[in-house]
Symmetry: C2
Protein backbone atom coordinates (compact mmCIF):
# COMPACT_ATOMS: atom_id res chain seq x y z
CA UNK A 1 0.00 0.00 0.00
CA UNK A 2 0.97 3.60 -0.44
CA UNK A 3 1.70 5.81 2.51
CA UNK A 4 -0.15 9.10 2.62
CA UNK A 5 2.63 11.07 0.95
CA UNK A 6 2.83 8.66 -2.01
CA UNK A 7 -0.95 8.40 -2.32
CA UNK A 8 -1.20 12.17 -2.33
CA UNK A 9 1.37 12.51 -5.10
CA UNK A 10 -0.24 9.77 -7.16
CA UNK A 11 -3.68 11.38 -6.91
CA UNK A 12 -2.39 14.87 -7.71
CA UNK A 13 -0.46 13.61 -10.73
CA UNK A 14 -3.48 11.68 -12.02
CA UNK A 15 -5.84 14.61 -11.47
CA UNK A 16 -3.38 16.89 -13.22
CA UNK A 17 -3.29 14.68 -16.31
CA UNK A 18 -7.07 14.52 -16.49
CA UNK A 19 -7.82 18.14 -15.60
CA UNK A 20 -5.24 19.44 -18.03
CA UNK A 21 -6.41 17.25 -20.87
CA UNK A 22 -10.17 17.74 -20.47
CA UNK A 23 -10.77 20.68 -18.13
CA UNK A 24 -11.65 20.45 -14.46
CA UNK A 25 -15.43 20.32 -14.59
CA UNK A 26 -15.44 17.69 -17.32
CA UNK A 27 -13.60 15.26 -15.06
CA UNK A 28 -15.51 13.52 -12.29
CA UNK A 29 -13.91 12.38 -9.09
CA UNK A 30 -14.56 8.80 -10.12
CA UNK A 31 -12.36 9.32 -13.18
CA UNK A 32 -9.62 10.60 -10.88
CA UNK A 33 -10.04 7.50 -8.75
CA UNK A 34 -9.72 5.25 -11.80
CA UNK A 35 -6.69 7.10 -13.16
CA UNK A 36 -4.89 7.18 -9.81
CA UNK A 37 -5.87 3.71 -8.63
CA UNK A 38 -6.70 5.16 -5.24
CA UNK A 39 -10.13 4.70 -3.71
CA UNK A 40 -12.54 7.58 -3.35
CA UNK A 41 -12.51 7.14 0.40
CA UNK A 42 -8.76 7.60 0.50
CA UNK A 43 -8.85 10.56 -1.87
CA UNK A 44 -11.41 12.32 0.31
CA UNK A 45 -9.37 11.54 3.42
CA UNK A 46 -6.47 13.46 1.84
CA UNK A 47 -8.41 16.19 -0.01
CA UNK A 48 -11.61 17.27 1.76
CA UNK A 49 -13.13 18.47 -1.50
CA UNK A 50 -12.51 18.57 -5.22
CA UNK A 51 -11.54 22.21 -4.87
CA UNK A 52 -8.69 21.24 -2.55
CA UNK A 53 -7.51 18.79 -5.16
CA UNK A 54 -7.60 21.45 -7.86
CA UNK A 55 -5.54 23.78 -5.69
CA UNK A 56 -3.04 20.99 -5.03
CA UNK A 57 -2.76 20.34 -8.77
CA UNK A 58 -2.04 24.02 -9.39
CA UNK A 59 0.62 23.93 -6.67
CA UNK A 60 2.24 21.02 -8.48
CA UNK A 61 2.16 22.94 -11.76
CA UNK A 62 3.79 25.93 -10.07
CA UNK A 63 6.65 23.75 -8.83
CA UNK A 64 7.10 22.22 -12.27
CA UNK A 65 7.01 25.61 -13.98
CA UNK A 66 9.52 27.14 -11.57
CA UNK A 67 11.86 24.18 -11.95
CA UNK A 68 11.61 24.31 -15.76
CA UNK A 69 12.34 28.01 -15.91
CA UNK A 70 15.28 27.64 -13.53
CA UNK A 71 16.74 24.74 -15.47
CA UNK A 72 16.47 26.62 -18.74
CA UNK A 73 18.18 29.61 -17.15
CA UNK A 74 20.94 27.47 -15.69
CA UNK A 75 22.65 27.13 -19.06
CA UNK A 76 22.64 30.87 -19.71
CA UNK A 77 25.61 33.10 -18.98
CA UNK A 78 24.05 36.58 -18.79
CA UNK A 79 20.82 37.96 -17.32
CA UNK A 80 19.71 38.73 -20.84
CA UNK A 81 20.20 35.11 -21.87
CA UNK A 82 18.39 33.94 -18.76
CA UNK A 83 15.39 35.99 -19.84
CA UNK A 84 15.46 34.61 -23.35
CA UNK A 85 15.92 31.07 -22.03
CA UNK A 86 12.31 31.20 -20.85
CA UNK A 87 11.26 31.11 -24.51
CA UNK A 88 13.42 28.08 -25.17
CA UNK A 89 11.66 26.39 -22.31
CA UNK A 90 8.33 27.33 -23.89
CA UNK A 91 9.48 26.04 -27.26
CA UNK A 92 10.19 22.58 -25.86
CA UNK A 93 6.93 22.56 -23.92
CA UNK A 94 4.78 23.57 -26.91
CA UNK A 95 6.16 20.58 -28.81
CA UNK A 96 5.11 18.08 -26.17
CA UNK A 97 2.23 15.75 -26.94
CA UNK A 98 -0.97 16.89 -25.35
CA UNK A 99 0.12 20.49 -24.89
CA UNK A 100 -3.05 22.40 -24.22
CA UNK A 101 -1.95 25.82 -23.05
CA UNK A 102 -1.26 27.19 -19.61
CA UNK A 103 -3.09 25.24 -16.91
CA UNK A 104 -3.41 28.40 -14.85
CA UNK A 105 -5.02 30.42 -17.60
CA UNK A 106 -7.33 27.52 -18.40
CA UNK A 107 -8.31 27.06 -14.77
CA UNK A 108 -8.80 30.76 -14.28
CA UNK A 109 -11.16 30.99 -17.23
CA UNK A 110 -13.12 27.97 -16.08
CA UNK A 111 -13.21 28.46 -12.30
CA UNK A 112 -11.79 31.89 -11.52
CA UNK A 113 -15.21 33.46 -11.25
CA UNK A 114 -16.69 30.79 -8.99
CA UNK A 115 -13.76 29.69 -6.85
CA UNK A 116 -11.77 32.38 -5.04
CA UNK A 117 -9.18 29.82 -3.96
CA UNK A 118 -8.46 28.85 -7.55
CA UNK A 119 -8.36 32.50 -8.61
CA UNK A 120 -5.90 33.25 -5.82
CA UNK A 121 -3.68 30.32 -6.74
CA UNK A 122 -3.54 31.52 -10.34
CA UNK A 123 -2.80 35.10 -9.34
CA UNK A 124 -0.07 33.99 -6.94
CA UNK A 125 1.55 31.89 -9.65
CA UNK A 126 1.54 34.67 -12.21
CA UNK A 127 2.75 37.19 -9.68
CA UNK A 128 5.64 34.95 -8.67
CA UNK A 129 6.67 34.53 -12.29
CA UNK A 130 6.38 38.27 -12.85
CA UNK A 131 8.64 38.87 -9.85
CA UNK A 132 11.12 36.36 -11.20
CA UNK A 133 11.29 38.11 -14.57
CA UNK A 134 11.54 41.46 -12.83
CA UNK A 135 14.59 40.19 -10.96
CA UNK A 136 16.23 39.13 -14.21
CA UNK A 137 15.40 42.44 -15.86
CA UNK A 138 16.99 44.34 -12.99
CA UNK A 139 20.03 42.06 -13.12
CA UNK A 140 20.34 43.06 -16.75
CA UNK A 141 20.29 46.71 -15.72
CA UNK A 142 17.05 47.42 -17.58
CA UNK A 143 14.03 49.45 -16.42
CA UNK A 144 11.23 47.63 -14.59
CA UNK A 145 8.50 47.99 -17.23
CA UNK A 146 10.49 45.76 -19.57
CA UNK A 147 9.62 42.86 -17.27
CA UNK A 148 5.90 43.28 -17.96
CA UNK A 149 6.59 43.44 -21.69
CA UNK A 150 8.42 40.11 -21.50
CA UNK A 151 5.64 38.59 -19.41
CA UNK A 152 3.07 39.66 -21.98
CA UNK A 153 5.00 37.82 -24.68
CA UNK A 154 5.23 34.71 -22.50
CA UNK A 155 1.48 34.71 -21.80
CA UNK A 156 0.58 35.50 -25.38
CA UNK A 157 2.80 32.73 -26.65
CA UNK A 158 1.14 30.17 -24.38
CA UNK A 159 -2.41 30.99 -25.38
CA UNK A 160 -1.62 31.38 -29.06
CA UNK A 161 0.32 28.12 -29.17
CA UNK A 162 -2.54 26.35 -27.42
CA UNK A 163 -5.09 27.55 -29.95
CA UNK A 164 -3.06 27.36 -33.15
CA UNK A 165 -0.98 24.32 -32.22
CA UNK A 166 1.96 26.04 -33.87
CA UNK A 167 5.19 25.69 -31.91
CA UNK A 168 6.87 28.34 -34.08
CA UNK A 169 5.12 30.84 -31.83
CA UNK A 170 7.84 30.39 -29.20
CA UNK A 171 10.59 31.36 -31.65
CA UNK A 172 8.77 34.51 -32.72
CA UNK A 173 8.08 35.43 -29.11
CA UNK A 174 11.78 35.01 -28.38
CA UNK A 175 12.72 37.26 -31.29
CA UNK A 176 10.26 39.87 -30.08
CA UNK A 177 11.64 39.70 -26.54
CA UNK A 178 15.18 40.09 -27.84
CA UNK A 179 14.13 43.15 -29.82
CA UNK A 180 12.46 44.66 -26.76
CA UNK A 181 15.55 44.04 -24.65
CA UNK A 182 17.70 45.64 -27.35
CA UNK A 183 15.45 48.68 -27.50
CA UNK A 184 15.45 49.07 -23.72
CA UNK A 185 19.21 48.75 -23.61
CA UNK A 186 19.75 51.33 -26.32
CA UNK A 187 17.63 53.80 -24.39
CA UNK A 188 19.55 53.14 -21.17
CA UNK A 189 22.77 54.77 -19.87
Amino acid sequence: MLDERAARETVVAAADRLFYARGVQSVGMDAVRAEAGVSLKRIYSIFPSKEDLVVAVLALRTRQWTRGVERAAAGAATPRDRILAVFDFLDAWFREDGFRGCAFINSFGELGATSPRVADAVRAHKEAFGDHVLGLVRDAGLPDPVALQVVLLVEGAQTTAAITHDAAVAREARRAAAALLDTAEARNP
Copy 2:
Protein backbone atom coordinates in the same frame (compact mmCIF):
# COMPACT_ATOMS: atom_id res chain seq x y z
CA MET B 1 -44.15 38.66 -28.14
CA LEU B 2 -40.76 38.56 -29.78
CA ASP B 3 -40.30 37.30 -33.31
CA GLU B 4 -37.67 34.65 -33.79
CA ARG B 5 -34.94 37.10 -34.71
CA ALA B 6 -35.50 39.23 -31.61
CA ALA B 7 -35.85 36.19 -29.33
CA ARG B 8 -32.63 34.80 -30.72
CA GLU B 9 -30.74 38.01 -30.05
CA THR B 10 -32.18 38.34 -26.56
CA VAL B 11 -31.18 34.79 -25.65
CA VAL B 12 -27.68 35.11 -27.10
CA ALA B 13 -27.09 38.39 -25.27
CA ALA B 14 -28.33 36.94 -21.98
CA ALA B 15 -26.27 33.79 -22.37
CA ASP B 16 -23.24 35.88 -23.22
CA ARG B 17 -23.56 37.90 -20.03
CA LEU B 18 -23.89 34.78 -17.89
CA PHE B 19 -21.29 32.64 -19.65
CA TYR B 20 -18.75 35.43 -19.63
CA ALA B 21 -19.28 36.27 -15.98
CA ARG B 22 -19.34 32.74 -14.58
CA GLY B 23 -18.05 30.34 -17.22
CA VAL B 24 -20.17 28.17 -19.51
CA GLN B 25 -20.50 25.03 -17.42
CA SER B 26 -21.38 26.95 -14.28
CA VAL B 27 -24.48 28.37 -15.96
CA GLY B 28 -27.50 26.14 -16.39
CA MET B 29 -29.99 26.58 -19.18
CA ASP B 30 -32.59 27.57 -16.61
CA ALA B 31 -30.44 30.54 -15.61
CA VAL B 32 -30.28 31.55 -19.27
CA ARG B 33 -34.07 31.31 -19.43
CA ALA B 34 -34.44 33.54 -16.36
CA GLU B 35 -31.93 36.11 -17.63
CA ALA B 36 -33.40 36.24 -21.13
CA GLY B 37 -37.06 36.02 -20.11
CA VAL B 38 -37.60 33.47 -22.87
CA SER B 39 -39.02 30.06 -22.09
CA LEU B 40 -36.89 26.93 -22.28
CA LYS B 41 -39.16 25.57 -24.98
CA ARG B 42 -38.54 28.60 -27.14
CA ILE B 43 -34.80 28.56 -26.51
CA TYR B 44 -34.60 24.92 -27.57
CA SER B 45 -36.67 25.64 -30.66
CA ILE B 46 -34.02 28.16 -31.72
CA PHE B 47 -30.88 26.40 -30.42
CA PRO B 48 -31.11 22.61 -30.58
CA SER B 49 -28.54 22.25 -27.81
CA LYS B 50 -26.52 24.28 -25.33
CA GLU B 51 -23.49 23.80 -27.55
CA ASP B 52 -25.30 25.60 -30.38
CA LEU B 53 -26.00 28.47 -28.00
CA VAL B 54 -22.34 28.65 -26.99
CA VAL B 55 -21.29 28.78 -30.63
CA ALA B 56 -23.83 31.55 -31.27
CA VAL B 57 -22.46 33.51 -28.30
CA LEU B 58 -18.94 33.22 -29.69
CA ALA B 59 -20.18 34.43 -33.07
CA LEU B 60 -21.66 37.49 -31.33
CA ARG B 61 -18.36 38.14 -29.58
CA THR B 62 -16.53 37.90 -32.89
CA ARG B 63 -18.80 40.53 -34.40
CA GLN B 64 -18.33 42.81 -31.40
CA TRP B 65 -14.56 42.36 -31.43
CA THR B 66 -14.29 43.05 -35.15
CA ARG B 67 -16.45 46.14 -34.84
CA GLY B 68 -14.44 47.42 -31.89
CA VAL B 69 -11.13 46.95 -33.64
CA GLU B 70 -12.41 48.61 -36.78
CA ARG B 71 -13.81 51.57 -34.88
CA ALA B 72 -10.55 52.06 -33.02
CA ALA B 73 -8.68 51.94 -36.30
CA ALA B 74 -11.03 54.41 -37.96
CA GLY B 75 -9.48 57.34 -36.12
CA ALA B 76 -5.94 56.43 -37.12
CA ALA B 77 -4.16 57.97 -40.09
CA THR B 78 -1.40 55.47 -40.85
CA PRO B 79 -1.23 51.67 -40.89
CA ARG B 80 1.16 51.90 -37.96
CA ASP B 81 -1.39 53.87 -35.96
CA ARG B 82 -4.12 51.43 -36.93
CA ILE B 83 -2.04 48.63 -35.42
CA LEU B 84 -1.44 50.57 -32.23
CA ALA B 85 -5.11 51.52 -32.03
CA VAL B 86 -5.87 47.91 -31.15
CA PHE B 87 -4.18 48.51 -27.81
CA ASP B 88 -6.28 51.61 -27.15
CA PHE B 89 -9.33 49.47 -27.76
CA LEU B 90 -7.98 46.94 -25.26
CA ASP B 91 -7.29 49.71 -22.75
CA ALA B 92 -10.91 50.84 -22.77
CA TRP B 93 -12.16 47.26 -22.58
CA PHE B 94 -9.94 46.32 -19.64
CA ARG B 95 -11.43 49.20 -17.68
CA GLU B 96 -14.99 48.02 -18.14
CA ASP B 97 -16.83 46.61 -15.15
CA GLY B 98 -16.91 42.85 -15.20
CA PHE B 99 -13.96 42.47 -17.55
CA ARG B 100 -12.90 38.87 -17.22
CA GLY B 101 -10.47 38.26 -20.05
CA CYS B 102 -11.00 37.03 -23.58
CA ALA B 103 -14.17 34.98 -23.92
CA PHE B 104 -12.53 32.88 -26.61
CA ILE B 105 -9.52 31.98 -24.51
CA ASN B 106 -11.78 31.24 -21.55
CA SER B 107 -14.09 29.06 -23.63
CA PHE B 108 -11.19 27.28 -25.25
CA GLY B 109 -9.68 26.38 -21.90
CA GLU B 110 -13.00 25.18 -20.57
CA LEU B 111 -14.51 23.43 -23.59
CA GLY B 112 -11.84 23.25 -26.29
CA ALA B 113 -10.89 19.70 -25.39
CA THR B 114 -14.44 18.36 -25.28
CA SER B 115 -16.25 20.37 -27.96
CA PRO B 116 -14.70 20.48 -31.43
CA ARG B 117 -17.26 23.07 -32.52
CA VAL B 118 -16.22 25.46 -29.77
CA ALA B 119 -12.53 24.81 -30.48
CA ASP B 120 -13.11 25.55 -34.18
CA ALA B 121 -15.00 28.76 -33.42
CA VAL B 122 -12.13 29.97 -31.23
CA ARG B 123 -9.51 29.06 -33.82
CA ALA B 124 -11.46 30.78 -36.57
CA HIS B 125 -11.78 33.95 -34.49
CA LYS B 126 -8.09 34.09 -33.65
CA GLU B 127 -7.13 33.30 -37.22
CA ALA B 128 -9.33 36.09 -38.55
CA PHE B 129 -7.79 38.57 -36.15
CA GLY B 130 -4.32 37.37 -37.10
CA ASP B 131 -5.14 37.91 -40.75
CA HIS B 132 -6.44 41.38 -39.98
CA VAL B 133 -3.20 42.33 -38.21
CA LEU B 134 -1.20 40.78 -41.02
CA GLY B 135 -2.98 43.05 -43.47
CA LEU B 136 -2.14 46.10 -41.39
CA VAL B 137 1.50 45.03 -41.06
CA ARG B 138 1.78 44.61 -44.81
CA ASP B 139 0.13 47.98 -45.34
CA ALA B 140 2.84 49.41 -43.12
CA GLY B 141 5.45 47.80 -45.37
CA LEU B 142 6.75 45.54 -42.60
CA PRO B 143 7.68 41.86 -42.78
CA ASP B 144 4.98 39.28 -42.03
CA PRO B 145 6.42 37.89 -38.77
CA VAL B 146 5.84 41.24 -37.09
CA ALA B 147 2.11 40.49 -37.21
CA LEU B 148 2.54 37.44 -35.00
CA GLN B 149 4.61 39.49 -32.56
CA VAL B 150 1.81 42.04 -32.29
CA VAL B 151 -0.78 39.28 -31.86
CA LEU B 152 1.24 37.77 -29.02
CA LEU B 153 1.18 41.10 -27.21
CA VAL B 154 -2.57 41.39 -27.71
CA GLU B 155 -3.21 37.90 -26.35
CA GLY B 156 -0.78 38.32 -23.49
CA ALA B 157 -2.35 41.64 -22.53
CA GLN B 158 -5.82 40.09 -22.38
CA THR B 159 -4.88 37.17 -20.15
CA THR B 160 -2.62 39.23 -17.92
CA ALA B 161 -5.21 41.97 -17.48
CA ALA B 162 -7.85 39.35 -16.64
CA ILE B 163 -5.74 37.79 -13.91
CA THR B 164 -4.11 40.90 -12.43
CA HIS B 165 -7.03 43.27 -12.98
CA ASP B 166 -4.50 45.92 -13.90
CA ALA B 167 -5.55 48.01 -16.89
CA ALA B 168 -2.05 49.52 -17.17
CA VAL B 169 -1.19 46.31 -19.00
CA ALA B 170 -2.66 47.73 -22.19
CA ARG B 171 -0.40 50.77 -22.14
CA GLU B 172 2.71 48.66 -21.66
CA ALA B 173 1.62 46.31 -24.44
CA ARG B 174 1.18 49.32 -26.70
CA ARG B 175 4.65 50.59 -25.88
CA ALA B 176 6.09 47.14 -26.59
CA ALA B 177 4.24 46.97 -29.92
CA ALA B 178 5.51 50.41 -30.89
CA ALA B 179 9.07 49.34 -30.08
CA LEU B 180 8.68 46.19 -32.17
CA LEU B 181 7.32 48.18 -35.12
CA ASP B 182 10.24 50.62 -34.81
CA THR B 183 12.74 47.78 -34.75
CA ALA B 184 11.18 46.13 -37.78
CA GLU B 185 11.12 49.42 -39.68
CA ALA B 186 14.77 50.16 -38.89
CA ARG B 187 15.74 46.77 -40.28
CA ASN B 188 13.71 47.30 -43.45
CA PRO B 189 14.74 48.88 -46.79
